[in-house]
Amino acid sequence: MTEYNFAYLDEQTKRMIRRAILKGLAIPGYQVPFASREMPMPYGWGTGGVQVSAAVLTPKDTFKVIDQGADDTTNAVSIRTFFQRTAGVATTTATSDATVIQTRHRIPEEPLHEGQILVYQVPIPEPLRFLEPRESETRKMHSLEEYGLMHVKLYEDISRHGHIATSYAYPVKVEGRYVTDPSPIPKFDNPKLGDMAAIQLFGAGREQRIYALPPYTQVVSLDFQDHPFEASKADHPCGMCGATDSYLDELIIDDAGGRMFVCSDTDYCEARQAAGHKGKDAA
Amino acid sequence: MINLSDVSKTFTLHNQGSAVIKVISNVSFAVVPGECVALTGASGAGKSTLMRMIYGNYLTQAGQIRIGGLNIVQAEPRDVIKLRRDVLGYVSQFLRVVPRVPTRDVVAEPLRALGIPEIDAHDRASALLKQLNIPERLWSLSPTTFSGGEQQRVNIARGFAHAYPAMLLDEPTASLDAANREVVLSLIEDAKARGAAIIGIFHDEAARAQVCDREIDVAQFTPGLAA
C-alpha cells in the first residue's frame, strides 16, 4: 500500500480530526466542528464515520463495519474493503474480536468491552434542527441549555399519535448537560448508550461535526413523567435463532404478505445459531 | 371634594401659525360632598373645556385642581387613572366603546376595573339598564348600533355603575325623553344623597333647577368674553 497514506487521510488531517475527537470526549455530547474532507464516496454514505475511523485506526487494530446491524450489506462491505486496502488492517465480523467498529443505525447486541471504539455515521447531528432551522440559534440554545423545544417535538408526537412515536434518533441528554442526537439508531438501542465500556464517537461528514461519549457516560432518553421512555422492539422471537432480546428486522418473504422477523445484528444471530439455538423459521 | 384655585388654560396651535388662545383664566371654586354645581355660560364659553380640565383630559397650564387630595394638574398618569377608577366619574355626551362588546359588559366595566366579581358587576349593570329602560334583549348586543338616545342612556348607566365620590356630568339629560330624563335626575339626586360632589353642564334649565344647588357662570373666566 504505497499509493495512499495509512488509512487514506494524510497525517495532518488525522491530527485535526483527533483533536476534534479529544475535545468531544472532554465535553461529552457537545458537537465539535471539524474541517470535513472530501472522501471517495458520496455524502450520506458514511463520510463522517469513515474520517473518524481513519483518524483512530492503528495498524494493529481489527476493524468491523455494520450497516443496520449487518456485516454483509453493500455499505458495510465497501467501507470494510476501503480500510483493508488503504490501511491494511485486519477485519472481522465478530463483535468481540473487533477493536474499532464503524456502524450505521445500530449498536451491536453483544455488550462492548473496554478498549473498543464504536464509530457512528451521523446524517444530522443537531437534534434541534427540525424545529429550529437557524444554526446560530441552536448553538445558543445548547450553550444556554434551553432545551424546551426538544420536548415540544415529543409533545407533538404524543398529541398526534397518542404516544411518543419517535422510534429512531431518539434524543438523549448526556451527563445532564447536552441534548444529543444518538444518530438514527432505533430507540431500542438507547439504553445501551449510557454506561457503555467502549468509547463512542459520532462523525457527521456533510455537517462537519464530531461528538463523543467517553466510557461509562450517563445518557438519559428524554421523556414526560406521564409518558416515560420505552425501548421498544417488534414483539416476536428471531425466526432464525429464536432470540427474544434482540432488535429485529421484518422481512416480507412472499407475495402473499408472509413475513418473518430476524435479528438485525447478523453476527449475534449467526453466533447463536452456531451455538445451537434455532428459531421457528430456520431451515 | 373638588377644589379649583387660580386655574388657567391656553391652547397653542402649532400648526396654525402657533396661535396662542387663552381659553380659561383664574378660575377658583370648590364643590363639597353632597353638592351639585352647574356650569353655565353661552356655547363656546368653555364649560366643557373646564370640565375636561377637571377630569385631567385637558392639560391645565396654571393653578391647582384638587380632587380628594390629588392635584390633578401635576399628577402622574397612573395617579390620575387610579383617581378616575376609584373617585372621579365622568359622563360625557358621547359613548366611546370597543365594537362588539355587549352593552351589559360596557356598563359593568367600571366595576370590573375595581375588581368586583363579574356576577355582581353584571347584576348592578342589569339593574341600571332596566331602570333606564333599555330593553333586555339589547343587553347582549354592542351599543354601537343603538340610537342616540339609547347610547346616551347606556353611557349614563356606565357612569353611575360605581358610586363615585366625585362626578362630572356633561349634558346628561340631552336627547332623552321625559320619562328617562326623570330617571337620570333621580340618579343624580341619589348620588347627591350619598354624598357625591357633582359638577354638571345642563342646557335643560328645569333639570338644572331641580338638581343643582348653585350655578357658576364660566363666561366670567373666559378672556374676551368677560366684561
Binding site: L131, L144, E145, E146, G148, L149, H151, V152, Y155, E156, I158, S159, R160, D223, F224, Q225, D226, H227 | F11, T12, L13, H14, N15, R52, G56, N57, Y58, L59, P77, R78, V80, I81, R96, V98, P99, R100, V101, R112, A113
Partner: protein, 256 residues
C-alpha cells in the same frame, strides 16, 4: 412603589443614523403604555432595545425581578435575560408567524414556554394549553391543528396565548393589531383589554394606530425622529396634544 420597568437614557444609533435617543420613563405594575409615531420614528427600535432583541448604545433597562429586585437587563447575563424572556416577559409580534412555530400544533405552541421552564408532565401541559386556547377564544377541538390552518386573527390570538401561558408580568407588543381586518382588530383589542385587566399585566404597545392606544393604553409616548416629543395620560395627549408633532399626528387621523 417600585416601578416594574425603569428605562433610563436609552440610545441606539445605526451608524450616523439615530434609532432612538435618550428615552427615559418608568412603568408601574398594571400600567399599559402606548408608543406612537410614524414609521421610522424609532418606536420599534426602542421596543426591541427594551425587550433585549437589540443592545442599546447607552442607557439602562431596569426590571423589577421577582427574586432579586430591580436589575439592569442590559448588563444582565444572556441566559438570565433569555430566561426573563420566557417567564416574566412576553413579546407579541406584529406578524403571528414571527412569534409562532408554524410547523407545531396549537397545543405545542402554547406548551413550549411551559416545557422551556421545566414542565415535564404531558397531561398537565396539554390541559393548560387547552385552557389558554379557551381564554383566547379558540375552540379546544383545534388544539392539535397547526397554525397554518388558522385565520390571521386566530393566529394572533394563539400567539397571545403562547406568550401569556407562563403568567408574565410585562408584555411587549409590536403593532399587535396590524395586518388584521378591522372587525378582527376590535375583537382582539377587547380580548387584550380583558386579559390585561384580569391578569394585572403591564404592557408596552408600539403602534401607529391611535384608536388602539386609546382603547388599551393608560399612558402615551409620542415619538418623532428617535426622540420622545410628548408623554402623558393617553386621552390627554390625544385630546389636548401640546407638541406640534402630536397635534399634527392627532389631526391627521381620518374621522369615521
Amino acid at each position: 412603589m417600585t416601578p416594574l420597568l425603569s428605562v433610563q437614557g436609552i440610545t441606539k444609533r445605526y451608524g450616523a443614523h439615530i434609532g432612538c435617543t435618550d428615552v427615559s420613563f418608568d412603568l408601574y405594575p398594571g400600567e399599559v403604555m402606548g408608543i406612537v409615531g410614524e414609521s421610522g420614528s424609532g418606536k420599534s427600535t426602542l421596543l426591541n432595545c427594551m425587550a433585549g432583541h437589540l443592545t442599546p448604545d447607552a442607557g439602562q433597562v431596569v426590571f423589577d425581578t421577582r427574586t432579586e429586585g430591580p436589575r439592569d437587563t442590559i448588563i444582565m447575563s444572556e441566559p438570565e435575560r433569555r430566561m426573563l424572556g420566557r417567564t416574566d416577559w412576553a413579546f407579541v409580534h406584529q406578524h403571528a408567524r414571527d412569534g409562532l412555530r408554524m410547523g407545531v400544533s396549537a397545543g405545542g405552541n402554547v406548551g413550549e414556554r411551559l416545557m422551556a421552564v421545566g414542565e415535564r408532565h404531558y397531561g398537565d401541559i396539554r390541559d393548560k394549553a387547552t385552557d389558554w386556547l379557551g381564554r383566547v377564544e379558540i375552540d379546544a377541538s383545534r388544539v392539535d391543528d397547526r397554525p397554518t390552518t388558522f385565520s390571521g386573527g386566530m393566529q394572533q390570538r394563539l400567539q397571545i396565548a403562547r406568550n401569556l401561558v407562563t403568567g408574565p408580568r410585562l408584555v411587549f407588543m409590536d403593532e399587535p393589531t396590524g395586518g388584521l381586518d378591522v372587525s378582527v382588530q376590535a375583537r382582539l383589542l377587547d380580548l387584550l383589554r380583558g386579559l390585561v385587566r384580569d391578569m394585572g399585566l403591564s404592557a408596552i404597545i408600539v403602534t401607529h394606530d391611535l384608536a388602539v392606544v386609546r382603547f388599551l393604553a393608560d399612558r402615551l409616548m409620542v415619538m418623532k425622529s428617535g426622540r420622545v416629543v410628548e408623554a402623558g395620560l393617553t386621552d390627554q395627549v390625544l385630546d389636548d396634544p401640546q407638541h406640534a408633532y402630536s397635534q399634527l399626528l392627532v389631526s391627521s387621523v381620518l374621522q369615521v
